[in-house]
């Protein structure tokens, strides 16, 4: 440690599965995440989230994508000492409809105004947050997630796909922090509160 403080990567041995299980979106200005101070220079996960004063209720909207067709990808690049993490979420949203059009319009508004916050759970059970704006009551540096590059099709045949591939993209100075709460509790402040979905 004469030059740089490193940490190890030593997870408990065990199987892990891929894929997204659940996705919620939020106005980054509505939620405040709580994060304990660093321990020996190591960042801690988010442990609590609260709606900010005046936030709209519900503050989280669930995106029901086609099962087995949700993916989060990221890529790190460096130029000198300048680090960039690029993120992308691709979610298959079934059926072209008024519902889909208005959803996409809201994504476009979010991308243009203040970005889109994403809280999502992997099939492994881990939950992550992206696009957040407030941590410990303070605005962090801008982490903008945009609706960018979605496409869709009606298909040609009866058994062709009819719907959209939603693309959300963003970049930041680090990879995503985990949220240690439960998805059930996230649902409790979402537009699907009480639905048990």
């Amino acid at each position: 440690m004469l030059c740089v403080q490193l940490v190890g990567y030593d997870r408990d041995c065990g199987a892990v599965s891929g894929g997204l299980s659940d996705v919620g979106i939020f106005d980054p200005y509505d939620l405040d995440f709580t994060q304990a101070a660093e321990i020996s220079g190591v960042a801690q996960p988010y442990t609590a989230l609260a709606e900010r004063d005046g936030a709209a209720t519900p503050s989280i909207y669930i995106v029901n994508f086609q099962i087995d067709n949700g993916e989060w990808t990221w890529k790190q690049t460096v130029n000198g000492c300048s680090v960039k993490y690029e993120f992308e979420w691709i979610l298959q949203l079934t059926e072209n409809s008024q519902l889909l059009t208005t959803f996409l319009q809201s994504m476009d508004r979010g991308a243009c105004c203040c970005g889109i916050g994403i809280i999502f759970r992997l099939n492994s059970g881990k939950m992550f947050v992206a696009g957040e704006r407030f941590v410990n009551g303070t605005a962090i540096t801008r982490f903008i997630i945009k609706h960018d590059g979605s496409d869709g099709t009606s298909g040609k045949l009866l058994d062709d796909y009819n719907g959209a591939n939603l693309h959300l993209k963003g970049s930041y100075t680090r990879n995503l922090y985990e949220f240690t709460g439960t998805w059930d509790d996230v649902l409790a402040i979402s537009d699907q509160a009480g639905s048990g979905s």
């Binding site: 709580t34 410990n136 439960t182 649902l187």
Partner: protein
Amino acid sequence: MPLSEIKDEYKNKVVIFGNNRGLGLPLGQRADIDLLAIMAHESGNHNLIKLFKTLPPLADLKKAKTESELKRPAAPPVEKKMPSSATQPNKVKIKANKAEAQGESAVDTSSTEPNTNTTQ
């Protein structure tokens, strides 16, 4: 009984932390607000700190948390299951010992593999 106390005006506020089993209970109905009090201390989040009418020192909260965890009834003992690959040699050994005692050849009859020792 929690050591910390939420201000009356925030008792209906919902904060997501710990495991509330999706009930979405407001702070006034949660029995685990000491956990949130610990988070408030460790994060210095003024939006959390302002929720508390009584916010005991972190050391007291942690001590109470440890004591309550020690008082929690112990989970029933879990029988450790060895992987089948690890248990198989023992099984064969036991059978071998049994067979030796009976003066027979040690053949695992539970095996589905053809018995190459048998003369036709």
